[in-house]
């Protein structure tokens, strides 16, 4: 590696990290837009706090857990703390050195990924979960559960050898986040009033759709960093071309997901459902995340469109079986995360369907089970659900003592 290549790669990773950090704002706005006004402060607090907790926990123990260098065994990485030592000039420029970027830049890029995984959980359990129970879960998820399974693939553990291919984390980040969310939702139950006594889902419209739309745009923009940075190098013709392809495919998959979801919703509901279009774009993004560097742009369009269609069906389906996910996080990140993993072999010879299924089973299973255990422990101790009166009146007063929009008359009860 020359100095300038190392420098360019490092700068590129940092720019991408800043973009992924920005996704935290995207999740926050998306969720704040899709809940009712009376639960808005709580979801804002949850989101800013989870990002901070993720950064601190991943710094404390997560990063060394996920990238131990040499793990204890293929399943268990062992314990470590802090970040790795920075690279010295001589090591980088040594003949045959493959050190491509600053180790702190690597940490920076990795730390924002765990925050993303955690943000996914936040939306699914919105409008009824206790804030502090959620934050305790965030400590465990970002410090242990996420990095542990991350070790299996990106850290050199057992999935590395099984032909599991997950370029930017469609499974490791998105499906993992969704699995933790699903476990939480199952223990938590649907929001009060979400279902009629005879079990039909009721609409609970989000309070601020411009915010939700802004959130989608932020996520889309941040995803250029999420996927584009996952090439981990840009300072050569091959890697620069790869990054460019990832940008193009990411953008096209999102566009196709949006249009597909918009059209399907139009067909099903007779109107242009904005929230489904937003979810469609995100579905397209998630669907391409496991393999954005191998498909031709035309295939990326198809993958994104498949994600956009699937997400609508999944949201309707989960709603029907009483899995109440106010923002559609489980469908977007879980269902489409799986879709994205399964289509990787279409364009990537190094991936196998078996390997992908192994990854889905191992990551999904591990995160779901460990999360369920943590949620259950929380439920048994401090409780995970707010009091019904507080849920009806809104979590904002109960948990945060303030309103999101105090100057506006609004229909809370």
């Amino acid at each position: 590696m020359t100095e300038i290549e190392y420098a360019l790669n490092t700068f590129y990773l940092l720019v991408c990290a800043a973009l992924v950090m920005w996704m935290a704002a995207g999740f926050t706005m998306l969720e704040a837009g899709l809940v009712r006004a009376r639960n808005t402060v709580e979801i804002l607090t949850k989101n800013v706090a989870l990002y901070a907790i993720a950064c601190l926990m991943y710094f404390l123990i997560g990063y060394q857990l996920m990238y131990p260098g040499e793990g204890v065994n293929a399943f268990w990485p062992g314990i470590g703390f802090g970040v790795s030592a920075e690279h010295a000039l001589a090591d980088v420029t040594a003949e045959g050195s493959e050190i491509a970027f600053s180790s702190l830049a690597d940490f920076m890029f990795q730390v924002v990924f765990v925050a993303t995984a955690m943000s996914i959980v936040s939306g699914a359990v919105a409008e009824r979960m206790k804030l502090w129970a959620f934050l305790v879960f965030a400590v465990v998820m970002t410090g242990v559960i996420y990095p542990w399974q991350g070790y299996w693939s990106w850290g050199g553990g057992l999935l590395s050898d099984l032909g599991y291919s997950d370029y930017a984390g469609g499974g490791i980040v998105h499906m993992a986040g969704a699995a933790a969310a699903l476990a939480g939702v199952l223990l938590l139950g649907p929001r009060a009033g979400k279902y009629t006594p005879d079990g039909r889902p009721r609409a609970i419209p989000g309070a601020n759709l411009p915010l939700a739309t802004l959130g989608m745009f932020i996520l889309w923009m941040g995803w250029f960093g999420f996927n584009g940075g996952s090439e981990l190098a840009v300072a050569g013709i091959g890697s620069a071309n790869a990054v460019a392809k990832v940008f193009v495919n990411t953008n096209l998959a999102a566009a196709a997901g949006l249009v597909a979801a918009l059209l399907l919703a139009r067909f099903l509901f007779g109107k242009a459902d904005l929230t489904m279009a937003l979810n469609g774009a995100l579905a397209g993004l998630v669907s391409i995340t496991a393999g954005p560097s191998t498909p031709d742009p035309g295939l990326a369009v198809l993958i994104g469109a498949a994600g956009g269609l699937l997400v609508v069906v999944s949201i309707l389906g989960l709603d029907r079986i009483r899995i109440d996910d106010p923002v559609g996080a489980i469908s977007v990140h879980g269902v489409c995360g799986i879709l994205g993993l399964l289509v990787v072999p279409l364009s990537n010879d190094e991936a196998s369907l078996v390997g992908q299924l192994a990854g889905i089973g191992l990551i999904g299973g591990f995160v779901f089970v460990t999360s369920l255990a943590v949620w259950a422990a929380l439920k048994a101790t401090i409780g995970i659900r707010v009091h019904p009166d507080d849920e009806r009146a809104g979590l904002d007063f109960a948990e945060c003592g303030m309103e999101a929009y105090p100057d506006f008359a609004h229909g809370g009860d």
């Binding site: 039909r200 889902p201 009721r202 609409a203 609970i204 419209p205 099903l268 509901f269 007779g270 109107k271 459902d273 929230t275 489904m276 609508v312 949201i315 309707l316 709603d319 559609g328």
Partner: protein, 112 residues
């Protein structure tokens, strides 16, 4: 004195206000409200789940008037607020026993 309360369609507010001013009404109080009646709402879908918008936006006018203006005000209201389509609204009349103008302490007709 009577208190005339009218529930009207929001888009009629400007016309009504001008017409009332023309017949000598010097004050009124206006609120946003929602109405439920023969005019049916609409059923919408949000993310595939149904919800009924059955309370439709209406404007409520409250106008205190001396007895001799009552007829004229009601007539004016009824005429200008009428679109002829269902949901045009209602006028309610109740007796006012007393009125006070806070600024001056004047009472009854001179307070209007």
């Amino acid at each position: 004195m009577k208190l005339i309360t009218a529930i009207i369609k929001p888009f009629k507010l400007d016309d009504v206000r001008e017409a009332l001013a023309d017949v000598g009404v010097q004050g009124m109080t206006v609120s946003e409200t929602r109405g439920f009646g023969r005019q049916k709402g609409h059923t919408e879908l949000y993310r595939g789940a149904e919800y009924v918008v059955d309370f439709l936006p209406k404007i409520k006018l409250e106008i205190a008037v001396p007895d001799d203006q009552v007829e004229r005000v009601i007539e004016t209201l009824a005429e200008t607020a009428r679109s002829g389509r269902i949901g045009d609204g209602k006028i309610f009349v109740t007796a006012l026993e007393r009125v006070v103008r806070i600024r001056t302490g004047e009472v009854n007709e001179s307070a209007l």
